[in-house]
């Protein structure tokens, strides 16, 4: 089984991003960039399938600027076999990303595509579902468990109210939720080895994808600030304030 895994370069999850002073967008300055945490979980799952002998090859793909190569190298260090970089300096919308991934799927013919549930920058939670629509494949979003069962893939999904298990025909598309696995750290020898693994570059234009944006950001502003509160010295005061000041209990 061949597994394709999509990784995105995003601002590190520890960074608190603020809007630019002119309100034109996020101010990323020299913020630390990382592999999107959900994509890391997707890579880990693909590598585990390979270690279990279920997957024969793991191909990592990223659409992004030249520097997205760093995140592809991370995926290779975590155990992916080779990488495809779709070079794009613009920040593409999920639909455009999905269209690029669709062409990569046509070329690579994977049996399983793993993605993250959500980009922590745009908070879209769309690309997996869109790629599934464009390919016509079954989708297992928000996966907390994945089992390959012959020609089927069983996915347990985190949903409102609990968990749901569905069975997908292959090829299938799955998005990783937080509890699918706990990703490993790349070891130094594997980081060195990753530098020699194959990484091919292409572009949305080469793939024949129109990436013109459909949605434009008119303004980026900070959320309403909360008023600073007070510290209370004991439980009795707290309960009194909740009853008589805030009147919420």
């Amino acid at each position: 089984m061949k597994v394709l895994v999509a990784v995105k370069r995003v601002v590190d999850y520890n960074v608190k991003v603020r809007p630019k002073s002119d309100g034109s967008g996020p101010d990323l300055g020299n913020a630390k960039m990382s592999i999107n945490p959900f994509c890391e979980i997707a890579v880990e799952e693909a590598v585990r399938l390979k270690e279990a002998g279920t997957a024969t090859e793991v191909v990592a793909v990223s659409i992004g600027p030249a520097k997205a190569q760093e995140q592809l190298r991370t995926a290779l260090a975590l155990g992916a076999d080779r990488a495809i970089h779709v070079v794009s300096d613009e920040d593409l919308e999920p639909l455009a990303v999905a269209k690029c991934l669709k062409v990569v799927c046509d070329n690579e013919q994977p049996n399983l595509v793993l993605l993250g549930k959500q980009s922590i920058d745009g908070d879209n939670n769309q690309t997996t579902q869109m790629l599934s629509a464009l390919t016509g494949y079954g989708q297992g979003t928000f996966a907390c468990k994945l089992e390959v069962d012959g020609e089927k893939i069983n996915v347990t999904r985190e949903i409102d109210g609990g968990v749901q298990t569905i069975s997908l025909n292959t090829p299938a598309i799955v998005s990783a939720d937080l509890r699918l696995n706990e990703p490993r750290y790349a070891s130094l020898p594997n980081i060195m080895k990753a530098k020699k693994k194959p990484l091919d570059s292409t572009s949305p234009a080469d793939l024949g994808v129109d990436t013109a944006p459909r949605v434009t950001m008119l303004k980026a502003e900070p959320p309403a600030e909360r008023q600073a509160g007070i510290k209370v010295e004991d439980v009795a005061t707290l309960v009194d304030k909740l009853k008589n000041e805030a009147k919420v209990i």
Partner: protein
């Protein structure tokens, strides 16, 4: 303009999240129709017809839609959407599963988790874990949106008298199958609609200690929530996670107990009206958003609060 709202339900009753979406639809303007796609879901369609402000209910009652499989429901939505300018889903896990798939079938760029409607094509939505509110404008002929429930009031569940029209088209993609589900049973109020939430984090220490929280919740008639760390540690079910990638809540009163206040957690609860933080570390970032902070060991504080409220 005409708007199609996709109802959230379990084939028996209409989920309240639908009512907030109806309000968002009315803010856009134009006729508001509701699609109920399910199996033996007639009672849901009847309930949707009673919602104030609904023009017409489309009821697609077919086995293929019984478990809301995205492959089947998105094909139905894409077929019906061509009659509408906007298609609105609640930003529930089900809505998030189906909306982008339907949008891609329509070659439309969906917009996730809108929190305000500026005009028929311009919306606000949080990005970067809620640290930025973006105003975005869509040029798509059919706009597909998911709506954050906490940002819009619920439309009255009674008062409407819409007609119910059967939709016969059956889309069965045949690529996915429902196997089973395990739903958490609870007598407590639902997190997304609760008036009071008592949430615990890693500081709770164990699943047993969550009983301290539950005792307080039961006394207040509150829902119980959790941080990711508490869910990961197995203290409580995944369905209780509040945050950027869990549930978004905005109750009147939110207790954060043994929760440090990571960006990702704040993203899910900082719109609560009153926030109480109980933490033994006085430097914990949660105190920066708390109206009332208590520096204390939760093992002492929780039983004491429970006895006083």
């Amino acid at each position: 303009m005409s708007i199609l709202v996709i109802a959230e339900h379990n084939n028996e009753s209409l989920n309240g999240a639908t009512l907030n979406v109806v309000t968002a639809a009315q803010a856009i303007g134009g006729d508001v129709d509701v699609l109920v796609a399910g199996s033996n879901c007639g009672a849901v369609a009847d309930a949707a017809a009673k919602v104030a402000g609904v023009n017409k209910v489309l009821c697609a009652d077919n086995d293929a839609y019984g478990h809301e499989l995205a492959e089947n429901v998105s094909a139905l939505v894409a077929e019906l959407a061509t009659n509408y300018s906007h298609v609105l889903f609640p930003a529930t896990t089900n809505g998030k599963n189906i909306a982008p798939r339907a949008a891609a079938l329509l070659d439309s760029q969906a917009i996730s988790e809108i929190i305000s409607i500026e005009s028929a094509d311009t919306f606000k939505r949080p990005i970067y874990a809620g640290n930025i509110i973006a105003t975005v404008q869509s040029s798509c002929p059919i706009k597909v949106l998911t709506v954050r429930g906490t940002a819009f009031d619920a439309a009255p569940a009674e008062g409407g008298s819409a007609s119910v029209e059967a939709v016969s088209s059956a889309h069965n993609a045949g690529v996915s199958e429902f196997v089973g589900e395990e739903m958490v049973k609870s007598d407590r109020p639902d997190l997304t609609s609760a008036d009071i939430i008592v949430a615990g984090g890693r500081g709770m220490g164990s699943a047993e200690n969550f009983h301290l929280l539950e005792a307080l919740a039961d006394k207040l008639g509150a829902a119980v929530g959790a941080s990711r760390a508490a869910v990961d540690a197995g203290f409580i079910a995944n369905d209780m996670q509040i945050g950027q990638t869990g549930k978004i809540v905005a109750p009147n009163l939110y207790f954060a107990v043994g929760i440090s206040g990571a960006i990702q957690h704040l993203a899910g609860m900082k719109d609560s009206k009153v926030i109480v933080a109980i933490n033994k570390d006085e430097e914990a970032p949660i105190f920066q958003v708390a109206d009332y902070g208590l520096v204390a060991d939760l093992h002492d504080a929780l039983p004491e609060i429970t006895s006083l409220v």
